[in-house]
Each structure stands twice: as structure tokens, then as C-alpha cells.
Amino acid sequence: MPNISRYIPIVGQGVIDELHFLGEKLEGRKIQNINSTAVGGGVAEILTRMIPLLRQIDVDAHWDVIRGNEKFFTITKKFHNALHGVDTEISSDEYEYFLEVNRQNAQDISAWGDVVFVHDPQPVALVEMKQRIKNKWAWRCHIDFTHPQSDIMNFLRSYIEQYDSAVFSAPAFSRHLRTPQILITPSIDPLSDKNKDLSAKKIDSELEKLGLDRSRPIVTQISRFDYLKDPMGVIKVYKSVKRYVDCQLVLAGGGATDDPEGMQVLQEVKGASVDDPDIHVFFLPPASDITINALQRASSVILQKSLKEGFGLTVAEALWKGKPVIASAVGGIPLQIAHKYSGILTYSLEGTAYYLKQLLQDPGYASKLSANGREHIKNNFLITRHIRDYLLLFLSLYYRGDVIDL
């Protein structure tokens, strides 16, 4: 994990000084994070990077993990699906078992933090301890809450409303709750392999391995092979633009080899590209972050033509690399792109093709969009902003009113 001072050349000394200042304001307060897994998954990844950084700014941050057996996690997987709007039957026995495991964990872990910061639904019922301990509790929802099934929502609401604050990643995820709701968007880490600067030599060598022609424009979509990412639509867009601009298309992403649908999508995409040597389809193994980084940096335009999207941080990754992005106005993407200011938002294949042609043929306009886009990401979607929002959240638990003089 990098030292926090390594972010200074990226965000400036002032931003890091401000984090130290906010960290000092939390002096004497223990921040106890609780989630359900120490490794694997986005939440563990964020906490792994964030806890050491919080400690470097003198925040007494800790991380505990609840324990559960296969039965518990099968139930919470059902919760996950139901929260995503999938029709899922959850029995009263399953709700009861979920609570039993939470209560057992409450005894094992204990909520000793001044602020207990609970992540996602698995440990949500630990808040039952609040009545006894009288400390501050915040619940962080990392998942898409746009269309939750009503039964699961009603069950969770009775626990969420016991928290002092509930945190969501996008405005569309907000619900009717008595608890104050806070918006904290996810972030990218500019020092991770996926986003760090690469030398021209490194980019060249990565692209050479992939057999791409650097003399012609490259249009890229990085995503899993999934119908919801609409790779077939991207090929149609490319084909309609290719008649006017000699460009190449890259569709690259990973996926689980045991995901039958993913393999089917990959085969369809390969089938649709077989007659055009300028369409490059790369099924990347895990740990391909440097390759993805190089592909994004070598591209003229990045597409993210998803039909549905959680937050869509691939957009932030591309904008951070100073690339013009054309993306669908779904999920968290409109938070990352203001149409015609920091990128292009589209609603159709035709619109995507129109703007792709325009950006490929007018690099001046494209570079203005991408310069704005990079600044927007720098100000709003880097891990340092994410840390600052968490510090403000913790502080907000100790104050009333809309203006707080620190």
C-alpha cells in the first residue's frame, strides 16, 4: 500500500493537508469498520486500501469481519439478488437464521468503536447493539438499491432506520427512510496498476503483444462479456463508423470461465467479428490490470455502451487517463459525465455512432472533453476524495445543522 504522500503530486499538498486536518478532528474516536469478508469482492478491496491510508492521517481505523457459514451466505446471496430486483423467495426461517448469525457475531465482535461503520446487508442487524452501547452507527450500502423487492426492503428498513446515517453510491439508490441518507460515490486509485502512469515504452510493448496497429485510431470498450454491456451493439456502432473513419475496435474484458452466459456472449462477439481483422476481442485473465491500463491509454475514444450499470467505474478510469468517453446514461455514469462538458452521454446505437464519428474526426473537441473529464475525475472520483467524504461522514455524526464550523 502506498504512503499517502505519494498522492501529493497527483492531487496537491493542500488536499493531503486537508485530510490530515480532518483526521485530527477525529482524534480520540475509534472507527470500527465491519463487513462480511476479508478478501475478495469490492468492499474488501476498498477497505484493504483505505484502512492503512486512514491510519496514516492519524485516524484510529479498525476493521472487523463477521463470521458466517455456508447457510448464512446462501441466505445473504438471496438478499443480494432480491435487492437487485430479482424475484426471490426468502422464508421466515431464513430471516430468523440471518438474525441469529448476526446476534452471535454481535457477541463475538462487540461494537467497541466510537463510530461503527457497517458495510452492506450481511452485518446490518448488528445495530441491535446500539441501544445498549450508545455509540454512533453508519451503514454503507455498496450495492445497487434502485429496484429492491419490497419484502427484503421492509425487513432491512427496520434495521437501517436504527442507524444514524445510511450511505449510498448514487442518487437513484435513495429510499424513503427516516435515517438521513448520504451520497458517497466510489472512487478509483490513481496509484493502482489499473490507473497508474505507464511509460510509452510499456504501452507499446503491451499493445505489440496484442497485435494492434498504433498508426490508426483505436476505439475500445473494456467490460465483462455480458449482454448488459451490449458488446454486439458496440460492434454495430463500429461498423457504421468504419465506413467513414479507418479505425480499429477493441473489446476486452475478463469473466468467469464457469459463467456459461459469459462464454456464450464471448462466442457471439467472436462470431460477429470474424470477417473483420480490425475488430480485436480479448478475453483477459485475472491480473491483467496493466494490459487494461495500456489499452485505455492507447485508445482514441473509449466506449461504455452498457444497457445497465452499477456505478460504471471503467468510465472514471478512462477519463482519468485523459480519454474522450462516450457512454450510456445508465447507473452512475451520468454522475461521471455531464453531456458535452466532460464526455458524451448517449441513449441509442445511432447516437453513439454519430458522436463516435464526430470525436474521431474532431480531435480538438475530443481533447477538450477529455481535459474536462480528467479534471472532473481528479476532483470527484479519486480515493483521496473518498477518504475525505468518509471523514466528513464520521464528523457529521457529532454535529447538528447544515453548516458546521470546524
Binding site: 442518487p171 435513495s174 446514461a329 462538458y341 453548516v403
Partner: protein, 214 residues
């Protein structure tokens, strides 16, 4: 004795409100009922987010009406509102209400957006922080203004006047207190809503430098 100018800065923590709109009628209802901090947030958010290279989109309401509902005339009325001339956020809210009520009387609410494109009302908690910068004369003020974050500039120009409802922005007030009325007037006369924050920083430095010579 001149009071030193203590530069401050500010951060926002965004609050999600359970209020959404899919058409102008619901937008009107929302604007009438949300806390005033929400009106502040939606009329000043873009100023913080796009302050470098492009001209500013005016406010969230105008952006949504124009780009989502495709109500260009109504969007233009929202964009064209002279924010700088309002001293209180409640007056600005009243102006938006009047525009919408006048529009609905003539046109009705005949346009709706899909679920995914609804307007989500938000508001913010403002945290005010001290900085280490203190100016005791115009020369020091210029030097500091060159290097403070745009958040600090934003705080003293927008937040002080519209959020804390002071009579004027902090810079104008300080120069007035020093008896430098011309500098104060010229800073007051700027319309900070139609230039980028970096452009605003340059203009203020230019005004103070020019008048410091006299």
C-alpha cells in the same frame, strides 16, 4: 487598524433527499418543499465541479429541463435567472417557483421522463475549515489568492453570500472595511456565475492589483 483576512475553505457532504421529479409539476412541488439547502446545492453544484475549461452549465434544474425533458425554452428561463442579484436563497426559490407556475399555466405538464432520468433532489452539509493563510494588506491578499484552493475562493465568494446569507461576498466586505471602496465595488460587480472559478481568481487578482497602485 485593519482586520486581517483569514482565508477559510469548505467541503460538502451530500445528502440524498427522498424527493424525485419526472415532470415540471413534480419539479415545482419539489422546489416548493425541499429545504433551502437543496436549492443552494442544485444552483451551485456545477460551479464546484466544472470550473476549469468549459463554460459552466448554469444549474441542475436548467440542465435537467433542457437535456432530459427537452424543454429548451423553460430550461433557458432557468439558466437565465440572474442568480447573483438574489441575496437570499428563499428569494431564488421563489423566482424558480414563479417561472414554473407561469409555464404550467400556459403549457401544462405534458412531458415526462423515464424512471432512470428522474430529477433527484439533494442537499448538502457544509463544513467550514480554517486555512493557514492570513492577509493583512492587498499585496499579501494577491499572493495568497494566487495559491489558495478553488474551494477557498468558492467559499468566500459564493458560500459566504448565498449559504451564510451575508450581505456581500467576503472579499468585497474586507476591502470595504479598509476603505478601498473602488476595489470593493468592482469585486461586487463581477458576476461569478458566468465565468470559471480560475477565470474569477484572475479577475479578482487583476482588480486588486490595478487598484493597489492608486
Amino acid at each position: 487598524m485593519i482586520e486581517p483576512f483569514y482565508f477559510k475553505t469548505r467541503f460538502h457532504l451530500v445528502k440524498l433527499l427522498p424527493v424525485k421529479a419526472k415532470n415540471p409539476t413534480e419539479l415545482l412541488k419539489g422546489i416548493k418543499n425541499v429545504p433551502v439547502s437543496s436549492i443552494y446545492y442544485h444552483t451551485h453544484r456545477f460551479l464546484r465541479q466544472h470550473h476549469y475549461l468549459s463554460p459552466e452549465p448554469p444549474n441542475d434544474f436548467a440542465f435537467w429541463l433542457t437535456n432530459i425533458l427537452n424543454l429548451r425554452e423553460l430550461g433557458e428561463l432557468f439558466a437565465g435567472i440572474d442568480t447573483v442579484s438574489y441575496r437570499k436563497m428563499e428569494s431564488l426559490r421563489a423566482a424558480f417557483i414563479k417561472i414554473l407556475e407561469d409555464y404550467l399555466r400556459v403549457h401544462g405538464s405534458n412531458v415526462e421522463c423515464a424512471e432512470a432520468y428522474k430529477f433527484h433532489f439533494m442537499s448538502c452539509i457544509t463544513f467550514v475549515l480554517p486555512t493557514t493563510y492570513v492577509a493583512t494588506n492587498p499585496g499579501e491578499f494577491i499572493e495568497i489568492l494566487r495559491k489558495v484552493s478553488i474551494d477557498s475562493l468558492y467559499f468566500h465568494i459564493f458560500e459566504a453570500k448565498m449559504r451564510l446569507e451575508r450581505d456581500e461576498n467576503d472579499f468585497s466586505a474586507w476591502f470595504k472595511g479598509m476603505g478601498r471602496m473602488k476595489t470593493s465595488r468592482e469585486i461586487t460587480r463581477l458576476d461569478p456565475y458566468t465565468i470559471t472559478l480560475e477565470g474569477l481568481r484572475k479577475k479578482i487578482i487583476d482588480i486588486v492589483s490595478r487598484n493597489a497602485e492608486h
